[in-house]
């Protein structure tokens, strides 16, 4: 390969393996190790660990402790070992001592080189490099912006150099190289390493020493719209500048007499994830992991077949919720208190694929799943909007003279505000509220009236499009007849204060925004008489007495906000009121259930009192865990509600409604699983990896985080950007892979998932586990190595509990799967 080809290849490897985390404004969950997804799960984990030195499993000690405590069942362990034909390893699993120290490949060349030099290059280069990138990319923190922001990173630094008396560089060689138009990356790399044999290893080592910044740069390179104010930057430019800074640092430290990797005759490595085998230690860990997972999975599967059959009631009210695991418990509470309520689950953008433009803003925000490229736009028209100004964030407070005045006056006001924030937390300008996304009284441009934006987005939806949206959603969840009079479309969003990762708390299906616009849009379409008339042709008969009501569930505050209530027919007013009363009670119960995990919360006698305490968390500056978000997620149930109703799944399950009877060919299932695998699987694996290696794959504790340029967080001021989830989000999470249970015949499921190669990869390589449930025979099939095999449930008990809430209120730990006594019967 030529030098340029080697560099191109290395860049390709980097693009693929660097963390792909978007800037803070759009937090989208994804599989942290997506680059290894073409390998089977355990092999991918082994490769990632050997190459990068990530901890990809919990420690052996963790598994052994779980085993000792009975949280890994002996019978399951035996079965796992038997299935894998590794019975002989049992003793090794339980007591053999292994050296768990890691010796990653990536980083090895440069660390040996730096050791031989006796000079820690990175501590010299990183601070100024990070400062340059972060100033260039800055979205609104710095008061003096990087000049020439329209130029590319390299060009703008050159322009800055030319226009100022000083220089970025001190050493003559670096300065000359920078100004010389003939300087290319191979030239710089040759200077640093001595030979092109080292290029690949050197580039990987160099970039993975600060994977956070490199990843962010590549994200912006590949998707410039990821930033509100676009910037032209590329990984190539970053490497170019970094190499120059390295040459300068070396020249300065050694006065030009330093040796390259070639001079020391070091060994380079070749990066190839596919040729990495599984060591015995990792084999042992993979077996433990399977046993750990199946101990839990088996209880869930057992719960499904052992629980008492429940017929879906004749519904007096229905609710369509987001698939989100946080909606799992609120649905359970409502159904418990309102036995003739039936609930459905579907991704929370409710099939509305569009951009949304708030009133008074020039920015559009995507409110559908991240991979979708919408062609529509919804405009908000609000009568009046409260401006939020916070002097504490004002650039002027940092000025000399205004700052002088401010400190003498406003400074004392700060003390008072601080005291109030501590003793009497209340809604404030700092807090993020789910209701800020859209003004509740705003009108939305939902109907297409022939208008388009300059760049070709259609404003609003045509009637045909609406019919298509409504019918495909209703078909997918299996709600095509027996409509209740009131159908609630429940979107969700979250509120929190002082939270840099706030976008990760909103609806994942809406690209990290609350789903209020989507719920309103869907309800509008489903209520539209013309849409209903055309739906009739498709055999979906929505009675004229039925009305759809859009709702926003705040998952942190446990509040329902209703929209467009004036459109509810008068005859339904009493029913609406009755339902709302049930919802209030259910939300209280839900808040109480959630608060069992918040150890700092003292229990109250009254549920509503406890609920108020939970609400306070959303506005408290000092609360790093306003809610626990997706922590503990581990299941995804795709099927009718009847197969999970009354089963206590401890807020661990994504619930997607699907009726296999209506979908013998699996066409609708295909649509569901195409979304479930990347969305739920992405969430689950991000939690998994942030949990097993919170230092390298997670963001560490959020308490010292410092906001960099509004696009990322770092520790202190000189640190690399932190990717993944902070420890506060994952500490109660159990590292299980997602188990998807589909209520459909195995042959249909198998055929369906093979249609889309991307979806097939998730299941075939077992990055999410898949079980098919044959409801007619009450039997399970598990997908192993691309084939379904019958699964016999080991666990045979399922306790039935009456008053679960008072039982679990004081246990922060995980609670087993149990059946709740049905109040319907």
């Amino acid at each position: 390969m030529t030098e340029n080809e080697i560099i191109a290849h290395s860049l390709h490897v980097l693009h693929h393996h660097l963390p792909s985390q978007a800037p803070l404004k759009d937090f989208i969950h994804h599989n942290t190790l997506h680059a290894f997804q073409h390998l089977p799960f355990h092999q991918g984990l082994a490769a990632a660990q050997e190459l990068f030195g990530y901890q990809t499993y919990p420690s052996l000690a963790f598994y052994r402790e779980q085993y000792k405590d009975g949280k890994i069942s002996q019978a399951i362990l035996d079965r796992v070992l038997q299935t894998a034909q590794h019975e002989s390893l049992k003793n090794a699993l339980i007591e053999k001592e292994y050296d768990e120290n890691l010796h990653p490949k990536v980083g090895s060349l440069r660390s040996t080189w730096k050791q031989k030099l006796g000079f820690d290059l990175d501590t010299r280069v990183h601070p100024i490099l990070f400062r340059l990138i972060s100033s260039f990319l800055d979205q609104g923190i710095s008061i003096w912006k990087f000049p020439h922001e329209k130029l590319s990173f390299l060009e703008s630094i050159r322009a800055l150099e030319n226009e100022s008396f000083g220089s970025l560089f001190k050493s003559k060689r670096a300065k000359a190289l920078f100004q010389d138009p003939n300087t290319t990356l191979p030239v710089l790399l040759k200077t640093l390493t001595g030979s092109s044999d080292y290029f690949e290893s050197y580039l990987l080592d160099q970039q993975f020493a600060h994977a956070g910044y490199s990843g962010m740069v590549y994200q912006i390179e590949s998707r410039p719209q990821a930033l509100t104010e676009a910037r032209k930057i590329s990984l190539h430019d970053l490497i170019f500048v970094e190499c120059l800074l390295e040459i300068e640092a070396l020249d300065q430290h050694f006065s030009k007499n330093w040796k390259t990797a070639a001079d020391f005759n070091l060994t380079a490595y070749h990066f190839n994830p596919d040729e990495i085998g599984q060591s015995e230690l990792l084999l042992v860990k993979s077996l433990w992991q399977e046993a750990y997972e199946w101990t839990y999975y088996d209880k869930v599967l057992s719960g499904i077949i052992h629980k008492h059959a429940t017929a879906e009631p004749k519904a007096e009210a229905q609710g369509i919720f987001c698939i989100d695991d946080r909606e799992c418990s609120i649905r359970r509470h409502i159904e418990g208190l309102h036995p003739s309520f039936s609930s459905f689950g579907t991704p929370g953008h409710f099939n509305i694929e569009t951009y949304f433009q708030p009133d008074g803003s020039a920015q559009r925000t995507k409110i559908c799943p991240a991979p979708v490229q919408p062609t529509h736009l919804i405009l908000e028209k609000a009568s009046e909007k409260e401006k939020l100004k916070e002097l504490h964030f004002s650039a002027r407070s940092h000025g000399l003279i205004f700052g002088w005045i401010l400190t003498h006056t406003y400074g004392f006001w700060s003390a008072l505000k601080l005291a109030l924030a501590i003793f009497k937390p209340s809604m404030n300008k700092m807090a993020v509220s789910s209701s800020q996304h859209m003004h509740p009284d705003a009108s939305l441009s939902l109907v297409y009236e022939g208008q388009q934006t300059a760049d070709g987005l259609q404003i609003g939806f045509s009637i045909e499009e609406m019919v298509q949206i409504v019918s495909s959603l209703l078909n997918s969840i299996g709600l095509t007849d027996q409509f209740a009079e009131l159908v609630y479309i429940v979107a969700h969003g979250s509120s929190s204060a002082n939270n840099t990762h706030y976008a990760g708390y909103d609806c994942g299906a809406c690209s990290g925004r609350p789903g209020s616009v989507n719920a309103r849009a869907f309800a509008f379409m489903a209520n539209h008489p013309e849409v209903r008339a055309r739906l009739l042709v498709q055999n979906i008969a929505i009675p004229s007495t039925t009305h759809f009501v859009p709702v926003l569930h705040d998952t942190c505050r446990d509040e329902f906000n209703y929209f467009d209530l004036e459109a509810v027919p008068q005859v339904l007013a009493a029913k609406l009121q009755r339902d709302q009363a049930v919802f209030v009670e259910s939300l209280d119960a839900n808040a109480v259930e959630r608060s069992r995990r918040f150890v700092t919360l003292s229990p109250s006698n009254q549920r509503s009192e406890q609920h108020e305490k939970v609400k306070l968390r959303s506005v408290s500056l000092f609360e790093p865990r306003p809610e626990l978000n997706h922590a503990t997620n581990s299941l995804c149930l795709v099927g009718r509600r009847s197969f999970s109703r009354n089963l206590f799944l401890d807020r661990r399950a994504f619930l997607n409604s699907y009726n296999y009877q209506l979908d013998p060919k699996g066409d609708r299932l295909q649509g569901i699983l195409n979304a479930v695998a990347p969305v739920c699987g992405g969430i689950n694996l991000e939690y998994y990896f942030s949990r097993v290696d919170n230092q390298q794959l997670g963001a560490g504790t959020k308490l010292p985080h410092n906001v960099m340029g509004l696009f990322g967080v770092a520790n202190g001021i000189d640190g690399d950007l932190r990717t993944g989830l902070p420890s506060q989000m994952i500490e109660v999470h159990d590292p299980y892979r997602l188990l998807v249970i589909v209520e459909q015949l195995p042959e249909v499921v198998l055929e369906t998932i093979q249609r889309n190669p991307a979806t097939w990869e998730w299941f075939q390589n077992e990055w999410v586990k898949l079980v098919s449930y044959d409801a007619n025979h009450g039997s399970f099939f598990v997908l192993r190595n691309g084939k379904f095999e019958a699964y016999q449930v080991l666990h045979q008990e399922l306790p039935v509990l009456d008053d679960l809430l008072s039982l679990i209120a004081n246990t922060p730990e995980n609670f087993p799967v149990v059946e709740l006594k049905s109040q319907a019967s």
Partner: protein, 622 residues
């Protein structure tokens, strides 16, 4: 309530709280936080009640001599307290913010590894702060000063399993040590100006001051500059400014109160406290105004280019403190006090809510169409760009310390490589014997010899200290060299008159015991672990208790006020003549480098990313 009772209670509280907090278990989050915030709450109540009564009873400054620790005919080391307006304003600031922040942190730090350490350090910090603001003389102030330095080190290195916090903690500690030189030398000069250890009250008695200063105006000026060095180091003024943003490594609330408010304004406190000493020195005042303005201008430019929220606030705060220094120089002490309070509250709050900047600004952009400011390009473009580039590089302030101090030291250390350890050891033995021999036969020496010898011994000590500091390999050698340094200083002093053997005892007892403990720990650890100075080893992960004991040993070896050696240090300086500037300089410098070398040893052996990677370990760049 009498003043005395008030002082006792007020200083006793954090001490009691700190000691109590050491005995709780890690898991007792409630108890730990309650002790911390109750301490601050009672302090706040006390300062409010006492402050008001004090104000209505004439608001007179009251001094109280607490305890004479060591006394000879010519020398007395005593603790002394002073309560006046300045004390009460700073007490109000400290108590109210500590109270609020400890309550804040109760929830914020919940489940954090190191919950206990955090509250221990906060109480320890509170103790140091209280001692400083109540101190009635330099000696008492210096005790608080040292406690503040160590607790800052511990708070910055709170996330001790990562590299950057540990490196930055060492960096800040070294700037603080430079500040300590100022205090030590000022103490020495003051001692000679008054021929005894004096109190701030005495110092401020103008009549006395004028006569002294009139006779020794150069000394007066030098003393004032020493105050400036200490004040500038603690308040991050030029040329030390770059440490402040780098101190923001701990949990946000601790950065907010310590580096947003309490710690950074201590420099201003020192200037206000010594105001009467220098208020008639025009040169010093002009200097103070110039550096204050310069700091304000430069750091506010740096603040404007920061793309990280915490460093932006840090530099903006430094700029205001620059103005505070100007106000103090102009004699506007009341204005300065109001400014200090306002700046402290504002920056604390800004830092606490700094994570909110993301949602707030993005909301502005996304929902309110807020465009970012575009700076107009003027005809001074070249000038504008140069300032931008310079500010982006923080005016090279961060490199300055390296270039001016550490690099020369390293060069000396490298030069001293010929002095291998064995050689040093034998020379030391020779020095010890020769020193004793010469001392017993002092009469044989000429006057000049007697005057010069201490200098040579102290220079020798200085060289050893540098060698200890630059040692890259053996921990035990480095530790032993530090001990040798103290011994050399002690020998050097023995040639000055009035230095008797009890002084040696005072000085060396703590040092040698601490060294022995440290040496023992290292020897034991070496049996199972790899221990060296070439890297950060992070052994605290497996040896938290050993690490704590070793930290105590290091503090003892560095002359921290937990052993009698601390008084010994002060004693030593009282014996150095004003004419022996070289001796004073090298002795002071030795002590500083000693302190750095010991903390470096502790950091390299016990802190940083753990050398073993069988568990989750942080990347070096994080």
């Amino acid at each position: 309530m009498t003043t005395i009772q008030f002082i006792h209670l007020y200083i006793g509280l954090p001490l009691l709280g700190f000691v109590l907090s050491l005995f709780f278990k890690k898991s007792q989050e409630q108890a730990l936080s309650v002790v911390s915030y109750l301490t601050a709450a009672i302090q706040l109540l006390l300062v409010l009640v006492f402050g008001l009564t004090w104000f209505f009873h004439g608001a007179e400054a009251t001094q109280y001599k607490e305890l004479s620790v060591y006394k000879t005919s010519s020398y007395e080391f005593f603790l002394d307290f002073l309560v006046d307006k300045l004390t009460l304003v700073f007490a109000l600031l400290g108590a109210s913010l500590t109270f609020l922040i400890t309550i804040y942190s109760r929830y914020y730090l919940h489940r954090e590894e190191g919950y206990k350490r955090f509250f221990n350090s906060i109480l320890f910090f509170n103790l140091g702060y209280t001692l400083i603001i109540f101190s009635g003389n330099m000696e008492t102030l210096f005790i608080g000063w040292e406690i503040l330095g160590v607790s800052s080190f511990l708070l910055i290195a709170f996330y001790r399993e990562r590299m950057l916090p540990v490196k930055n903690a060492l960096k800040v500690f070294s700037v603080y040590r430079i500040g300590d030189i100022g205090v030590i030398l000022a103490m020495w000069l003051l001692h000679h100006l008054w021929h005894s250890n004096i109190t701030f009250m005495e110092m401020n008695t103008t009549v006395k001051l004028n006569t002294h200063l009139a006779n020794a105006s150069v000394i007066g000026l030098v003393t004032a500059f020493m105050f400036y060095i200490s004040a500038a180091a603690k308040s991050a003024q030029l040329p030390f400014s770059s440490w402040l943003p780098r101190a923001m490594e701990g949990p946000t609330p601790s950065s907010a109160i310590f580096y947003g408010s309490m710690s950074v304004h201590i420099g201003a406190f020192l200037l206000l406290r010594t105001m009467h000493f220098w208020e008639n020195q025009l040169i010093f005042k002009v200097f103070l105004i110039t550096t204050g303005l310069l700091t304000a201008l430069i750091t506010s430019a740096i603040s404007r280019v920061q793309s990280s929220i915490k460093s932006q606030i840090a530099y903006a705060s430094i700029a205001q403190i620059g103005l505070i220094f100007v106000e103090i120089a102009l004699g506007l002490d009341n204005l300065a006090l109001v400014h200090i309070l306002g700046n402290a509250f504002l920056r604390t709050y800004q830092l606490l809510i700094s994570p909110s900047v993301v949602s707030h600004k993005i909301r502005e952009q996304l929902y309110e169409n807020k465009q970012s400011l575009v700076v107009k390009e003027t005809q001074w473009l070249r000038f504008q760009r140069s300032i931008y580039l310079l500010s982006l590089k923080e005016w090279n302030l961060d490199n300055l310390l390296y270039r001016l101090i550490w690099n020369p030291l390293k060069r000396i250390g490298r030069g001293a490589k010929v002095l291998n350890f064995k050689y040093v050891f034998w020379v030391m033995a020779f020095v010890l014997i020769a020193g004793m021999a010469i001392r017993t036969n002092e009469q044989m020496l000429s006057e000049t010899m007697r005057h010069q010898l201490p200098f040579f011994f102290s220079f020798w000590g200085f060289l050893i200290a540098v060698k200890a500091f630059t040692e890259r390999d053996s921990v035990r050698k480095s530790l032993t060299l530090i001990m040798f340094n103290h011994v050399s200083i002690s020998i050097a002093m023995s040639f000055n008159e009035h230095f008797d053997n009890t002084h040696h005892f005072w000085y060396l007892s703590g040092v040698i015991i601490s060294w022995a403990i440290g040496y023992y720990i290292l020897t034991r650890m070496r049996k199972t672990e790899w221990v060296s100075l070439d890297n950060f080893y992070g052994h605290i992960y497996e040896y938290p208790k050993t690490g704590f004991v070793f930290l105590l040993a290091c503090l003892g070896l560095a002359g921290f006020p937990i052993t009698p050696s601390f008084i010994g240090e002060d004693l030593i300086f009282s014996h150095i003549h004003l004419s022996q500037i070289g001796l004073a300089f090298f002795t002071a410098f030795s002590l500083i480098i000693n302190g750095l070398a010991t903390m470096r040893i502790y950091a390299r052996v016990f802190l940083g990313p753990h050398i073993k990677t069988y568990h989750q370990t942080a990347k070096r760049s994080s």
